[in-house]
């Protein structure tokens, strides 16, 4: 069993000066000089500790998955379609420097650096369930801040009914993008009220340190009540739109993956059941566990969908 109890996991207690965080490039250069970059080691060698306080309101009391499991079993098709590919092939990806375009129906569009984006936000740690549409799940200690707090800064106008997200397109650094498994770049979207929900998190780290490349560095979405593919990684664009934006898996197989993609044990994937899930790290002989409506977050989010036919809007 490679899991640890949430309450025993120490938090990084040291204050990390922002220079330290933002100077990951120096670390990278130093490592490159030492020949440590690009060796495909599935370790977060470029990690910098993050200062974050655990937010008990949003944290589960479940066994957290090991750092090893969280960083070596990933669906990040930009690096390959095997679960082990991202950890093995993300070594060349450069998450620094980073900037993000903000566009569409808002008062403050523009290009923002990662530093601009992060500056006003206090980071917090939240322990969330992650439920993949492939019927497995993990429990992950994310570090981030509420997505809504960032979106408010761009002052969306009354036409902003949806938020569209886009992943970076870098086939040189992301070998999976050299074959059109999906229509690159990866795109995702949320309704604005979903995006403003306090559970929607923009993550910059996990286990108290900056995100490993294979987990969506430097900035990714975490929407814990939806299937994992909604939680888009390595975001380079946020666009406020009036119309429902296109989403990658929906483009790829509209019958199988909807725009909403709320975790729902009562609505099966056309090819497999969603009633149960396998908890990663539970071992060869563990049985599956029941999947919960909205991945266990029904009390917080079910009201967002009152009156919506969740069978039709899967």
């Amino acid at each position: 069993m490679r899991r640890t109890q949430a309450s025993l996991q120490p938090l990084p207690s040291e204050i990390t000066p922002p220079e330290r965080y933002f100077n990951r490039r120096d670390v990278i250069t130093a490592l490159a000089a030492a020949g440590a970059v690009g060796t495909g080691i599935p370790r977060n060698v470029l990690a910098a500790p993050l200062k974050a306080t655990r937010n008990p309101r949003f944290s589960l009391n479940e066994d957290i998955n090991s750092f090893e499991d969280i960083t070596s079993y990933n669906n990040f098709y930009e690096f390959g379609t095997d679960k082990a590919d991202p950890a093995q092939r993300a070594g060349r990806f450069k998450p620094q420097p980073w900037s993000m375009v903000v566009a569409g129906e808002c008062a403050k569009p523009g290009t923002y650096t990662l530093e601009d984006i992060l500056k006003p936000h206090a980071l917090e740690e939240r322990i969330y369930r992650l439920r993949c549409v492939e019927a497995w799940s993990m429990v992950i200690p994310w570090v981030g801040f509420p997505l809504g707090a960032l979106l408010q800064r761009f002052e969306p106008n009354s036409k902003a009914r949806y938020v569209a997200f886009k992943t970076v397109l870098r086939p040189d650094e992301m070998p999976g993008q050299r074959f059109p498994v999906l229509d690159w770049p990866y795109v995702e979207g949320l309704r604005i009220d979903e995006a403003m929900h306090p559970l929607a998190l923009l993550a910059v780290g996990l286990y108290g340190q900056t995100l490993p490349n294979q987990n969506g560095a430097p900035l990714r979405l975490v929407v814990p009540w939806k299937y994992g593919f909604k939680s888009i990684k390595s975001i380079v664009e946020i666009r406020f739109t009036e119309r429902q934006p296109a989403t990658s898996w929906n483009i790829s197989a509209p019958r199988e993956y909807g725009f909403y993609a709320n975790v729902n044990p009562a609505v099966d994937h056309p090819r497999w059941s969603q009633a149960q899930e396998r908890r990663i790290g539970a071992g060869l002989f563990a049985s599956k566990q029941a999947t919960l409506p909205f991945n266990g977050y029904a009390a917080q989010v079910a009201a967002l969908y009152s009156g919506l036919d969740l069978r039709r809007f899967y």
Binding site: N65, E68, D69, S72, Y73, Y77, T81, K83, A84, E134, W136, F179, V181, L182, W249, S252, A253, R271, W272, S273, R278, I280, G281, G283, L284, F285, S287, K288
Partner: protein, 215 residues
């Protein structure tokens, strides 16, 4: 080409033991990974790793079984034919273990759920059908059954073509978006079937390889 001379001296040939060992290697590796021998492991999702490992090798070996006759004819190496039964039985072994892994470790012997999956999920239905088709072939793979069934043995064992097709579809049907590996197997399957069709086209007399006694 003629069948090998019956009078050939019996001497030790390494081909069967070598192929046997080669076929057992993926299984051996999965077992070592399952028991965590010398830092090997099945990774964060061991059930999936075992299930997919067994299924993939079963399908590969099944397709390899279909390669034996084309290889025998094209390379003019009748002795290759001796390996076909062993390859087929190894394929069956992997696929039966694949099914058992699904039954016990993945579905936890939840019989009603298993039955529902077999009926409701087309990719599971075709995989299950493929395995069912292979059972009589494994049972009748002995020399005794070959003699007893005579010509009918060959008709019966034609089911392997159906099973291999269903097995490839089973794989294609379960992937989410990356169809490259299953497409490779389906292409191989179609190429092997095309070869057979070409050899049987009108005007080409009887199959160039007479059925061989497997010793």
């Amino acid at each position: 080409m003629n069948p090998p001379a019956r009078t050939a001296k019996r001497r030790f040939r390494a081909d069967k033991p070598v192929v046997f060992l080669l076929c057992s290697l993926p299984l051996l590796r999965l077992v070592l990974r399952a028991f965590g021998v010398s830092s090997l492991s099945l990774g964060p999702n061991p059930v999936e790793a075992l299930l997919h490992g067994l299924g993939l090798w079963g399908l590969r070996l099944l397709l390899l079984t279909l390669c034996v006759r084309p290889a025998t004819v094209t390379l003019r190496q009748p002795r290759l034919m001796r390996l076909r039964r062993m390859l087929g039985l190894w394929a069956f072994t992997y696929l039966a273990l694949h099914f058992l892994t699904w039954l016990v470790l993945d579905r936890g012997l939840d019989l009603s759920g298993i039955a529902a999956d077999i009926v409701k999920r087309p990719f599971i239905s075709v995989g299950f059908a493929a395995l069912l088709l292979l059972i009589p072939l494994a049972v009748t793979s002995t020399d005794r059954w070959m003699r007893r069934l005579g010509r009918r043995w060959h008709s019966l064992h034609g089911l392997v073509y159906v099973a291999a097709l269903l097995g490839s579809l089973h794989f294609l049907w379960l992937v989410k978006a990356d169809w490259r590996e299953p497409a490779l197997y389906i292409t191989a399957y179609m190429a092997l079937m095309a070869w057979r069709w070409w050899k049987r086209r009108p005007g080409v007399g009887k199959s160039p390889m007479q059925p061989l006694r497997q010793t």
